[in-house]
């Protein structure tokens, strides 16, 4: 893989060679192939998909359903109907919580999640616990962010009926033991809900191989457009679940007081769908496949290694997570003594470097890290790379971080 050739596919990167975009865990950039897929939909066959009985609507439906087929193949789903298009991973997780969680969990059941979940994989389960009387429990990782086999096994009881777990932590980059969690929860007749927002863009995911009953992911973190995401759900589960939202195109018959619902997947796709977004997301999946996840991980690891080792070598800088850079999925989270992460990000912005600073929508993890690792602030700075980032960018970034304390008024 030639990263300089790759960068030519991304107009925003090609047009801004000096700008270092290291906030890929928040959202990725989009290649021209994705932008063209979106434009192509609106330019060539724009009409309301699934409804119309004329050529353009048929064409729109065709693009939309082909996109579903592409996403099913991308994550190893057996049936296209197991892919529900939603706005983003957050909506996908809410769909599972409202439609599956409220109807299948009962008082005394346990929902197990990790303390490093994104708020979108915490709040829906808090809601389910409040409404059903189920108990929400947390797994805490070791200091380096790893959840060990023994730890996970000790947290699962015979009452554990649902495990929610990110494939990859959006703060520490660590890959979580989703496959083992799935085996453990399945032994109880429960379900495995995997949050793939941070994992799916960076590694080959096969839902059957990892044993996920549900997998939520967003288009915008994997080169696709904002406003489109997907939920994978195992067919037998989706078939029994009631609709999450109701309205147009998700019905069979509607009478004044009742209705029967459409077949999968349309039962879960109320209202006019984001067909252009789906086309963009499918183009993104195709782009990622054309490069290959081996090459993607190799480039990410090369760049991450420079960032990680560079930051580790700077006095006053604390780097969190595993010492093994291949366990970071491109994410390096750090702090600098005496410098609030917001100030770090603000002064790096002056150097045309984009990093995220704050709690990363993971406040329980920040609280855990502050107590366990004695962090100065309940917040961190985070550099997150993707395969289009270069080793030169990593080196420039490290040099800039070396100067942050000086810019913030410290002697060194």
């Amino acid at each position: 893989m030639d990263v300089n050739l790759i960068r030519r596919d991304f107009p925003i990167l090609a047009d801004n060679p000096e700008y270092i975009y290291f906030d890929n865990a928040a959202t990725s950039q989009r290649p021209v192939q994705v932008l063209e897929a979106i434009e192509n939909f609106y330019r060539t066959t724009n009409a309301n998909p699934l409804r119309g009985l004329y050529e353009w609507s048929v064409g729109a439906t065709d693009i939309y359903e082909k996109s579903r087929h592409a996403m099913a193949g991308f994550i190893g789903a057996e049936h296209d109907e197991e892919i529900i298009f939603v706005r983003n991973a957050t909506e996908a997780l809410n769909l599972v919580a409202y439609s599956y969680g409220l109807n299948n969990l009962h008082e005394g059941d346990e929902i197990l999640i990790t303390v490093m979940e994104h708020h979108s994989d915490i709040l829906p389960w808090q809601m389910v616990a409040r409404s059903t009387g189920a108990v929400l429990k947390y797994i805490e990782p070791e200091d380096d962010g790893i959840i060990t086999e023994e730890n996970l096994k000790s947290c699962v009881t015979e009452k554990t009926k649902l495990i929610g777990m990110a494939l990859v932590s959006n703060v520490l980059g660590v890959k979580n033991p989703v496959k083992l969690a799935a085996e453990l929860v399945h032994a109880n007749g429960g379900v495995m809900v995997a949050d793939g927002a941070q994992g799916v863009p960076h590694m080959k995911v096969d839902v059957k191989e990892i044993g996920a009953d549900f997998l939520a992911f967003s288009g915008h973190k994997m080169l696709g457009p904002m406003g489109i995401g997907a939920l994978y759900g195992r067919m037998e589960l989706l078939e029994k679940m009631p609709p999450f939202l109701s309205g147009g195109e998700m019905i069979e018959y509607v009478k004044r007081d009742s209705a029967t619902y459409a077949e999968l997947p349309h039962k879960f796709e109320a209202g006019t769908v984001n067909a252009a977004g789906a086309a963009g997301m499918a183009a993104a999946a195709e782009y990622l496949n054309s490069i290959g996840f081996d090459a993607i991980e190799e480039q990410e690891n090369k760049v991450t290694k420079i960032v990680y080792e560079g930051l580790k070598s700077i006095p006053y800088v604390h780097v969190y997570g595993s010492d093994d850079v291949t366990k970071h999925s491109g994410i390096v989270t750090f702090n600098i003594d005496g410098c609030h992460p917001h100030d770090i990000s603000t002064v790096l912005d002056d150097e045309h470097i984009a990093v995220r600073a704050g709690h990363h929508c993971a406040q329980p993890l920040m609280e855990f890290m502050q107590e366990r690792l004695k962090m100065e602030f309940r917040a961190t700075a985070r550099a997150s790379v993707y395969f289009y980032n270069t080793e030169e960018e990593a080196e420039r970034f490290v040099e800039a971080v070396k100067k942050v304390r000086g810019w913030l008024g410290y002697g060194a």
């Binding site: 410098c339 609030h340 992460p341 917001h342 100030d343 603000t346 002064v347 912005d349 002056d350 600073a357 704050g358 709690h359 406040q363 920040m366 100065e376 602030f377 309940r378 917040a379 810019w407 913030l408 008024g409 410290y410």
Partner: protein, 155 residues
């Protein structure tokens, strides 16, 4: 102003060597202000005399340089002012970070006017306004968690 210059010329000094950071004896009012989005957390303490003049003030807590420096500059301005004047400063500061203040209003804020550029950074507005909002809650709404003027609903 280039942001690094803003830090170098004004913010760093107030953050690293604040004039008003610490605790005071027998404040009239104390209030905790938090900014959950970044964990900024300050305790503002004010002393008012019988004519509602702010005779002294200080803050404690932790947070980003912008939040700390802004609170320190605010106290520079309002110590010696009446309650009404202090609230008028707060109004002008809020207008400034919402880009609706007049040049005269901005000028009257003295050093705090240097934070004008924050108006272009929504993510930092909350940092810059934390001390000011806490002061408004105290002087305008009468909120207090301690001190000799505790708010206790009409007693």
């Amino acid at each position: 102003m280039e942001l690094k210059n803003l830090y170098r010329e004004i913010v760093n000094e107030h953050n690293l060597h604040p004039t008003h950071k610490g605790d005071m004896e027998s404040p009239s009012m104390i209030l905790n202000g938090v900014n959950p989005s970044c964990g900024d957390d300050i305790y503002l303490q004010l002393k008012l005399d019988e004519n509602d003049i702010v005779t002294d003030g200080c803050f404690n807590g932790s947070g980003c340089a912008i939040s700390q420096a802004s609170a320190d500059m605010m106290l520079d301005l309002i110590i010696g002012s009446s309650k009404e004047e202090a609230l008028a400063y707060a109004e002008r500061f809020m207008n400034m970070v919402r880009s609706t203040a007049t040049p005269e209003e901005i000028e009257s804020l003295d050093e705090a006017a240097s934070l004008e550029d924050i108006s272009h950074m929504p993510a930092r507005v909350k940092c810059a306004t934390l001390g000011w909002k806490t002061m408004q809650r105290m002087l305008r709404d009468g909120e207090s968690e301690g001190g000799s003027r505790q708010s206790c609903g009409g007693c």
